[in-house]
């Protein structure tokens, strides 16, 4: 547990978590909170266990035919080695502000399949893809 | 009862009908014919007078060659479209027939004179004055037509 973590009190899932940007300690963008994973213990107390990132949970939350379509699209892009949505344990969340900062670097997580595919097949192959332009 | 998809399909069909089917199926009235003719005359008027301005400016050495040729190209395109739209319109009655007898020659003259003006500019800039006068006359005739039938 990090001592200086900052979270609003009371924390409202719909207001403070859902659809917020998640960034890593270096400010790199992880994705949005597309869904939240809960756990209910034996006393009936609900705790947040993880934040989920990915088109699949997003599609499921949006619902309807459009949501199904988004989920199906995400599902098709997923390779076997990939376990589905990116899951960030709630214990790794350092700060919930206008952005949600987590304590782990983006490099420690799997690159989302679409990003990886586009990077390897298209963008990464164009000359100059490695240069940042400040 | 129709559901939401039904309503969407229905409104789509209504819009499609209004936009594409209706103009073809419903016969043209004199009023429609008159409107199309006025629109064509107005387009031609715009092109003829624009070309007159450009020819004048070119004569005074105020334009660049590629610019002038682009303006001529654009005006031929616009005049061609106006002529085509006029030709596609059915002539519904005798009154429309008399409108047709006026607008068709005016459009043809517009195309002829715009082409002639371009040739004049290429060959002999000093003759541009005549071209401008002719274009101006034609513009006035088109304006009279528009004023009469608007």
């Amino acid at each position: 547990m990090t001592p200086h973590r900052h979270r609003p009190d009371p924390l409202r899932v719909d207001f403070h978590l859902l659809d917020r940007q998640i960034i890593d300690p270096a400010g790199q963008k992880m994705g949005k909170v597309d869904d939240v994973e809960f756990d209910v213990d034996e006393h009936g107390r609900t705790t947040i266990t993880a934040l989920l990132i990915g088109q699949q949970p997003l599609g499921e939350r949006i619902g309807g035919r459009l949501g199904q379509w988004i989920s199906a699209l995400a599902h098709r892009m997923r390779s076997d080695s990939d376990p589905g949505p990116l899951r960030i344990p709630f214990d790794d969340v350092i700060e919930v502000d206008s952005e949600i900062t987590i304590g782990l670097r983006r490099e420690l997580f799997d690159t989302p399949p679409l990003e990886r595919w586009l990077r390897d097949r298209i963008i990464g192959r164009i000359p100059g893809a490695r240069d940042a332009r400040k | 009862m129709i559901g939401r998809p039904g309503w969407i399909a229905l409104s789509g069909a209504v819009v499609a009908f209004a936009a594409f089917v209706a103009p073809v199926v419903i016969p043209t009235s004199f009023d429609d014919y008159r409107k199309t003719a006025v629109q064509a005359a107005q387009d031609a008027l715009g092109q003829v007078r624009t070309v007159a301005l450009v020819v004048e400016a070119a004569r005074d050495g105020r334009t660049l060659k590629p610019y002038v040729s682009q303006v001529f190209w654009q005006s031929r395109e616009a005049l061609g479209t106006a002529q085509k739209e006029m030709a596609a319109e059915e002539v519904p009655d005798a009154r429309a027939k008399s409108v047709e007898a006026q607008i068709v020659p005016l459009l043809a003259a517009s195309i002829r004179q715009v082409n002639a003006a371009e040739i004049t500019l290429d060959d002999d800039v000093t003759a541009a004055g005549t071209a401008v006068r002719e274009l101006t006359d034609l513009g006035d005739q088109l304006a009279v037509f528009v004023g009469r039938y608007r």
């Binding site: 659809d19 990077r119 | 107005q42 105020r62 660049l64 303006v71």
Partner: protein, 408 residues
């Protein structure tokens, strides 16, 4: 001294960057048909974009979050998705129109058919987006766009009947027009001044350049001085068309006509400058709309975006930008007239305006994001008033388009 320079540069960039193909087309068409009778709409539109651009830049500087990011947070994933689809399509349409403007400017300069220029112009837009530094890009095209000031110079050189122009300022539609066409052109002018991509671009740029509260002053000066002066260029375009074309009852429907008053007034040099200005204004706007297409989608999904990171690190963002540029060019290759495409992009922009501006107003009132920088009563009064105007414009746009046959 350095700071003064930065502010001046910012203002000049904002002026040059204000005018795009939509402003050129809408202002010259309206000037030719209505003289200066619709000039007030440009003023109303400029005040509107100032009000909302200031809010968007304040949100960007204080919360460090760009507009589209917050749209999803505030409206929820579902409604924001509908918003995303609308905003993306409009921005794509605008991108197509801007690329068309670049191609038309090149056609005017070279007499090579504009359709041949379309693929080249699109490729150039993409290469510049891929290779060039963000600030350089904005400054270069902004400053080059300043050359459009020749419209204002031309106005004073032409045989301008100032009394007639003055009397038009306060009158309704002329005899040759009616209230429906008057309203239709008013909507196009309003939409041209308040194009949604301007705020997407401004706020994303602010976040990328790491604006803080300190930069807010600069941002405000840019907006409050730069945009009104940019609006003055728009009015110059309108007035030139009013002087040359209105008395002849010639309606403007090409960029060749838009630029003709400058040639008549200032000759070859003026013509060359105005063609460069049109090129710069549309090319700069093509860059902004291309990036904005990437911003909207990436910010909705929370992907990495922007030019601060290597493209490899933002592959999805760069793919969206690339695809959008290709789609925009493809749109033109259907041989749709770029000027007509611009007219439609303006009308449909008008329809989606509330989708962009309502969330900005909501967020600008949210203490969670803005702390003590939330809207005060005057800003809210202006914001709400404009939102009402925007709503009326959005509702009226399509019916007026149908009634007037797209302004004929």
């Amino acid at each position: 001294m350095k700071r003064l320079f930065a502010i001046t540069l910012g203002i000049l960039t904002a002026i040059g960057g204000f005018v795009d193909i939509g402003d050129l087309v809408a202002n010259s068409e309206a000037g030719a048909r209505f003289g200066l009778r619709l000039a007030w709409v440009v003023v109303v539109g400029v005040v509107g974009i100032c009000v909302y651009a200031e809010m968007a830049s304040r949100v960007a500087a204080v919360s460090r979050r760009p507009v589209f990011d917050l749209i999803r947070e505030r409206l929820g994933a579902r409604i924001a998705l509908a918003n995303l689809v609308g905003s993306y399509l409009i921005t794509l349409l605008t991108l197509g129109a801007e690329i068309g403007g670049v191609a038309l400017a090149l056609h005017l300069a070279s007499s090579v058919h504009y359709l041949l220029w379309v693929p080249l112009a699109a490729a150039a837009v993409w290469v510049v987006l891929w290779r060039v530094k963000f600030e350089n890009l904005e400054r270069f095209f902004g400053l080059l766009g300043l050359t459009l000031v020749v419209f204002v110079v031309a106005l004073f050189t032409l045989n301008t009947d100032w009394a007639r122009l003055g009397s038009e300022l306060t009158s309704g539609p002329p005899d040759t027009e009616n209230w429906a066409t008057y309203g239709y052109f008013a909507i196009a002018l309003f939409a041209a001044a308040m194009t949604p991509y301007e705020v997407f671009f401004l706020s994303s740029g602010g976040v990328e350049e790491n604006w803080t509260r300190k930069d807010l002053v600069t941002a405000r000066v840019n907006v409050f001085v730069g945009f009104p002066l940019g609006g003055l260029l728009s009015l110059g375009v309108m007035a030139c068309a009013a002087v040359v074309f209105e008395p002849l009852s010639v309606s403007v429907d090409s960029i060749g006509q838009t630029t003709l008053p400058v040639a008549m007034a200032l000759g070859k040099v003026g013509l060359a400058i105005v063609i460069i200005g049109v090129f710069a204004a549309t090319f700069g706007a093509a860059l902004e709309t291309g990036l904005s297409n990437g911003y909207t989608i990436a910010q909705y999904f929370g992907w990495e975006w922007g030019k601060r990171v290597a493209p490899r690190q933002a592959a999805r963002f760069h793919t969206v930008v690339l695809t959008s540029v290709v789609l925009g060019a493809a749109l033109l290759l259907t041989t749709v007239d770029p000027v007509e495409l611009t007219e439609y992009s303006l009308v449909f922009s008008a329809v989606v305006l509330p989708l962009t501006y309502l969330p900005i107003l909501i967020v600008a009132n949210d203490r969670d994001y803005l702390g003590d920088q939330v809207n005060g009563p005057i800003r809210n009064l202006l914001g709400v008033t404009y939102l009402v105007v925007i709503l009326i414009v959005a509702i009226a746009a399509i019916p007026l388009m149908i009634i007037t046959g797209a302004g004929q």
